[in-house]
Each structure stands twice: as C-alpha cells, then as structure tokens.
C-alpha cells in the first residue's frame, strides 16, 4: 500500500484561522454564559429574599393561628384547607397511578394498551390547569352536584397529580433490576405478590420522592381550585357542598385588594407557600440522594 504523497508541491495551501479570534469567541461565550447563569441565580435569590422578607415582616402569630379572609383575621383556614385539598388529591391520584404503573410495566400486559396509556398520560400532563378548573366546575360542581367542595377541589388537583405520579412511579418500577422480578416469578409468585414483595418495596424511595414533588406542585396550584374549591372563612364542614380555603387564593386576592392588611396576609401566605414548596423539593431530592 502506498500513501499518496500529496503534501509535496501539489497540495493546496491550507491556512489556519487565527487562533486568537477563535479564542475570543470562546471567551465571549464563556463570559456570557457565566453572566446569564449568575443573573438567573441572582433573580432567583432576589425573589426568594423579597418574598421571605416581606412575609416575615408582616406575619404575626395571630395571623397563623386564626381563621379569616383577606380583609380580616388569619390564614389558618387557608393553611389547613391547602393540606386538606392536597391530601384529597393524593387520595384520588395515588391508587390509580400506582396500579396503572403496575399494569404498564407488567410484561404480560397488552403492549398496545400500555403504550396508549403512556401516551394519554403524557398528553394529560399538558392540559392547561384552567381547563381542568373549568371542567371541574362544569362537570363535578354543577353536573355531579358536588358544589364547591373538598372533593371537587381534590379531584381537580388529582387530574394534575395523576399523570405526574404515574410517570414517576413507572420510572421507579423500571429502575428495578429485571432479574429480581423474573426471579420472583420463577419462584412461583403471582402478580399480586410480585407487586407487593418486589415492586413496592424496591421502588418505595422513588415513589415517596415522587409523592413529595407532586405535593409540592399541587400546594402551589390555583387555577384548578378557583371554581372547584371556592373559599371559606373557616374550615369546611363536610366533604361536599362546603367550600374550602387555600393559600394561593389568599395570595392572589389579597394582593389585588386595596387595604394594607390584605397585602400583609398575601405576603405571609406567599412566604408559607414558598417555604413549604422548596422544603418539599429539597427533602425529596435528599431522600433520593441518600438512597
């Protein structure tokens, strides 16, 4: 074999771009990317500091310990109401997401149905929250006669939580080594046993962190709840036909009201929200990392 000795004489002249010009472009990209990252972190920090500071300087013990609305009284009803709604949402979304994910990962399931289920789950995550709110109002509140209530609000939240949880749980299930599942089947376990002895215990950290994230997202939701949960100056008296207060509502209406006190209540609620939401996100990351 012969290498064409093309370098001598007949080869085209090859000049190089100036390295310094290329380096300058690289330096600019480097600098700009740091500036942008720094600016975004600064904005994030300023939002946090502003909200925490405004909340901390206006929150009082009385505000946290009494019922009320945005013009008078406290936000205890909204704090409790938020967690009641979130709890209700979990109640409606955990069973279908857990069992649905078991169906999707089960090798004996119908592949077409599994694929379709995943596709619909994906699409459902993208439905705008206000459309879910409108649907909840038209169908749950009016047509099914639930009234503005804990159940209607919880169901509206669960429409958002369900696809989210289902995806996370499915991923946690898929992260389990295949041999473990095959071994369990080989030992004669049926699907119920494999689910309860392999899938659930192995994926429990993933599931838990997913639930925490779903809670953190739904605690900050508003649009689904405006016309499904309503608002209440006290705690709801039942599951149906009794309106529920929640924190995001207080933030939204409080800041749009003219009195200083309603602004204070809005700031305090925003502080509670941002603390609980980021707290939950951090805890969820922590438990995943510790595993």
């Amino acid at each position: 074999m012969r290498v064409t000795n093309s370098y001598v004489g007949k080869q085209e002249e090859l000049k190089w771009k100036k390295v310094s010009t290329r380096k300058i472009k690289d330096k600019i990209a480097n600098g700009l990317s740091y500036v942008v990252l720094g600016a975004m972190i600064a904005i994030l920090a300023s939002i946090f500091i502003y909200i925490l500071n405004a909340g901390a300087s206006h929150v009082t013990w009385k505000m946290l310990s009494t019922y009320g609305n945005t013009s008078s009284g406290g936000v205890l009803n909204a704090i409790v109401g938020t967690w009641m709604l979130v709890g209700m949402g979990l109640l409606f979304s955990i069973p279908p997401s857990l069992l649905g994910a078991l169906y999707i990962v089960n090798a004996k399931s119908n592949g077409t149905i599994s694929m379709a289920a995943r596709l619909f789950t994906d699409v459902l995550t993208s439905v705008p929250s206000i459309v879910i709110g409108l649907f909840a109002y038209l169908v749950l509140v009016i047509k099914f006669g639930m009234g503005l209530s804990l159940v209607a609000g919880g169901l509206a939240l669960s429409v958002m939580m369900l696809p989210y949880l289902l995806r996370i749980i499915e991923i946690s299930f898929r992260n389990i080594p295949k041999e473990q599942i095959e071994n369990a089947y080989a030992l004669g376990a049926d699907d119920i046993r494999v689910a309860s002895r392999v899938y659930l215990p192995q994926a429990k950290v993933g599931i838990l962190s997913g639930i925490l994230l779903a809670v953190s997202i739904s605690a900050g939701e508003t649009a689904q709840l405006i016309y499904s949960a309503g608002f209440n100056n006290a705690l709801p008296t039942g599951f149906l036909h009794s309106e529920v207060a929640y924190l995001t509502y207080v933030v939204w209406t409080g800041i749009n009201e003219p009195t200083a006190y309603s602004h204070y209540v809005a700031f305090a609620s925003a502080m509670i929200l941002i603390l609980s939401v980021t707290g939950l996100i951090i805890i969820s990351k922590y438990i995943v990392r510790r595993k």
């Binding site: 990209a29 975004m40 459902l124 705008p128 206000i130 459309v131 409108l134 649907f135 699907d191």
Partner: protein
C-alpha cells in the same frame, strides 16, 4: 391462574386507562358545553376581538336556535394575540438563556458544582405561579413602569411598537418575563440531559480535532442536541401557552381593547377563562359559560398540539429529568 390474581390484573388495567378516560372526558365535556357558543358565534368567534357578555336584564335573544343575552358577542382574537405574544416573548428570552446556562454547566463550570447549579435553576419551576404573580405586581411592574419602559419608549422608538405611551408596567413585557422564568428550567434540563447523552468519546473526539469549547457546544447543539432542544423549547412553549395565574396577575387582564404598543395591557386565553368565569355564572342563558368553554377548547387544542409535537421531537429519553427530578 388464581382468581384473585385475575381480579388484580383487571383492576390494574382499569387504573391504567384512567388517564385516558379523564383526558377524553375533559375534551368531550368541554366540547359539549361549548356547542351553544359554536352555534351562536359561528366563525365570528375567530374573527373578532370583542368579548361582550351582553345585557343580563334584557330579554335574551334567539339566534341560530340558541338563546343568548341581548347584545352579546364573543371573539377570541384579543386573547389569542395575548397568548401567542406572551408565549413568543417568553421563548425569545428562555431559549438563549437556557442554551447559555446549559453550555455553561456542561462545558465551562467546574463539574463539582454543576449539580448544585442545575438544582438551583430547577427551583424556578417550583415557585408557585401566584407567588410569581405577587412578585410581578410588587417588584417587576414598578420596575418596568418607572425605569425600564420609559427608557425603552425613548430610545427604542426605531423599532415598530416600542414608541408611544406607557401604561402601568402590567402587560406583555411583564408576562413574557415571568413566563420565561417558568419555562427556563424545563428547556434547560432537557438541553442538559441531551448534552449528557452525547458519548464521552465523541466529545473527546471534537476536542482532539482542536475545537474550542464554544465550537464543541455550538456543534453539539446543532447535531446531537438539535432535536431535544427544539422539542424542549416546544414543551416550554406548551407550558407558557396554558399558564394562567401569573399572567392573569401581571398582564393587565383587559378585554375589548387591542394593544397599541408593547407596553399595553393585554390578556391571554387562559387568564381570560379564569377572570371571566365568575361573571359568566350570572348569565341565565349559559351562553357566557359556553363561550368560555369554546375558548378552553381552542386553548387546549393549541397547547396540547404544541406539547405533543415537542414530546415527539425530543424523544422520551431526555425528558426524564424534566419529569421526575
């Protein structure tokens, strides 16, 4: 197979189709409730920007076989313009920012603090939208109104739409900025994930040919990560199109007045549904409610299509972080 196992499997099947049942019922019910509006407004729903609830205390009128308040007319143009323009501005800000952040954490930032920085950026997605709205009202709007927009209106008059009066700070610019904060973490995490999936050998290969980091980043962006970037941006866009509360709080939420310039108050489809639903209850003919349902259908159609295309383009792999982390 034991009966109990069969029952269990059937039950898991039922639960797996819940998302499909929910999605289909949302579409079917909202569409069903919008039928009166579709009949009443016909094509004018798409050709006018006026949204007039009509006179509640006059006798309702009958048109195309449906009852509606006298003088009522419903058109989505104003809201559609608002939705598209706020989302477009959000993407215009979010895309370069996300690209530069991804470039930074992948190539320039010491790898030790990469994870911390990504987690910080992801926190943007965790802030509830009403908190963004609150911050927008008390911090961003005054800042825009007092400092930024006067300067823009004075110095950027050569760009059409940047001259003229300033309103309150609420409007397209405030909405676009806040929406961009909400979608930057989505777009960033998808781009970062796709950069991470590029084999180490290929990155080393690029560097071995003498490429600078910027050249490597630019190349990865236009080859390996092109699909994920486009898909991720579309997913972010889908999110921005449907965002309600923050935009409701900082857009000015106008009806019936088209924006004159970039500083005008605007409104979006999602925000309009949230703000107009209250008064729609009082309409005994139900036409106002039906018109909002029709608005919801159009909004859902746009945002689902955009998200679905984004998902398809990006592929499932790189969406992992965005969905589970």
């Amino acid at each position: 197979m034991k009966a109990s196992n069969r029952v269990f499997n059937f039950f898991t099947f039922l639960m797996a189709i819940v998302p499909a049942v929910v999605l289909i019922s949302i579409i079917v019910f909202v569409l069903y409730y919008s039928i009166p509006s579709i009949r009443y407004n016909s094509w004018s729903f798409f050709t006018t920007y006026l949204w007039n609830p009509g006179f509640q205390f006059q006798a309702p009128i009958m048109k195309h076989g449906v009852l509606a308040p006298a003088g009522s007319a419903f058109g989505l143009d104003l809201f559609l313009i608002g939705t598209l323009s706020t989302s477009a501005l959000a993407i215009l800000i979010a895309f370069p920012v996300s690209f530069l952040i991804s470039l930074n954490v992948e190539l320039y930032l010491p790898s030790k603090i990469k994870k911390v920085m990504i987690s910080m950026i992801e926190l943007f997605a965790g802030i509830p939208s009403v908190v963004y709205g609150l911050w927008g009202i008390v911090v961003l709007e005054p800042l825009l109104f007092r400092n930024v927009e006067p300067w823009m209106a004075q110095h950027l008059t050569f760009i059409p739409g940047f001259g003229g009066e300033i309103y309150s700070g609420a409007g397209l610019i405030a909405s676009g900025i806040i929406l961009s904060f909400m979608i930057i973490p989505i777009v960033t995490s998808i781009i970062v994930n796709s950069f991470d999936t590029v084999p180490m050998d290929v990155k080393d290969g690029l560097f071995s040919l003498g490429a600078t980091k910027w050249e490597v980043g630019k190349y990865l962006m236009t080859s390996y990560s092109r699909a994920s970037t486009v898909g991720g941006t579309l997913l972010g866009l889908g999110r921005a199109l449907g965002e309600t509360m923050a935009v409701l709080m900082v857009s000015g939420a106008v009806t019936n007045i088209l924006p004159h310039n970039f500083y005008s108050a605007i409104n979006t489809m999602a925000a309009a549904i949230a703000s107009l639903l209250d008064s729609a209850f009082t309409d005994s003919t139900g036409m106002n409610l039906a018109a909002l349902a029709e608005l919801a259908i159009v909004l859902m159609l746009i945002s689902l299509t955009v998200s679905l295309i984004g998902r398809k383009i990006a592929g499932r792999g790189v969406l992992r972080g965005y969905e589970s982390d």
